[in-house]
Amino acid sequence: MLAIIDYGAGNIGSVQRACTETGIKSVITPNPADLKKAERIIFPGVGAAPTAMENLIRTGLGEAIKEAFVAGVPILGICLGAQVVLDSSEEGDTPCLGIIPGKTVLFKLQDKSLKIPHIGWNNVKVTQPHPLLEGIGKEDEFYFVHSYYPRPAKKGNIFAITDYGGDFCCAIGAKNYFAVQFHPEKSGRLGLEMLQRFATWDGEIPAKSENRGK
């Protein structure tokens, strides 16, 4: 069973509806015990990092996510799920889960005509092959709504970038954890296809990646 984590952060209903549309069965759960039984997990969320972390700690879901990661369960983070997975967030100076080394930072844009939050459709450029990014080309766009973005400490954890007054990281991964800053559930067919790939992903990143180590 695919578990969608409910920790009071944003509209997780849209994630479940997108799963249903692609034929993926899922359950929404606020219960850490359910994550232990899950075959795969979606960790969504919109909102502020401090509130999200507070809820994750209080409910025990944060620990359950870390355990699932260690146990090799495929996990897909969306938006906040791509941010609180790092060591910390600039948003309210919040210590985060620390599954992937790095920090979540606020956009600092030189071009004053660009607006924060970054809202709308933008291109995703794959910098390192990953099973969940398969087939994504330079014309493919996804839907973003955010003011902060993940900045992993190691290049090896960066899988895709987006240009908004300069490149920022929009997809991060480590082993069986993969997360995107954009919203596949709101990105039309291309987003649904990514969810579909996640539904069959074994949690491995094939070693043939050409860009690895560059």
Partner: protein
Amino acid sequence: MLSKRLIVCLDVREGKLAKSIKFVDTKDIGDPVAKARQYYEDGADELVFYDINASRANRDITLKFVEAVAAQIFIPFSVGGGIRSVEDATKLRLAGAEKVNVNSAAVKRKELISEISGAIGAQSTVLSMDVKKTTKTEEIPSGYEIVINDGTVNTGMDAIEWAKTGEKLGAGELVVNSIDADGTKDGYELTLTRMIADSVGIPVIASGGAGKPEHLYEAFAIGHADAALVASIVHYGEYTCRQLKDYLHSRGIKVRTKF
């Protein structure tokens, strides 16, 4: 780089699709859920539903309708019409709407914008403004006045000032709807759109008057809009969303072309 957005507007009356001309004489033109799905598949970047006779009595019909839409389309969509409280906004969000539009109720009580923005976030709070051209006065220096209740009531408020106030109060986006241009198919009110787009730091959606693809190009190139709203130009099959986007792309406007 962010793409310019094509937003399809669907006027809904008791769960049916309607299209108004100068805000009167609305007629039903089909099932809005099926239409929404069609526009979604055809490359609309976003949809907006205006519940044109929203009242407390049919609020539940609206929520059911929003749920039905949310199960069918996987791009952002917003809902407007009759939103008077944080509770209204929160319910629509939970039913699956990405954003809510406030209009007349915010003019009557501007705190509504900050209340909704505080509850569901600026990114989900859209201030929709209906604007009519008028003579420049001390009170209305821009010569553009805010009107409410479907364009029937003048407010004496300057449109540019109201746009700035809306931004300050926490609106994340502005819909600038020209009552003069609405339904005419003669093109957007470019002067108005540009004046507002150049005075705020949040995205501006041009609305009212789209009749041909060139009008959309003008909204972006001349009106400085971030998004263009269309209705009858696509509702009656004159153009598909794909055709509009292909045209914009050919004119050098960055739009999402793969969907």
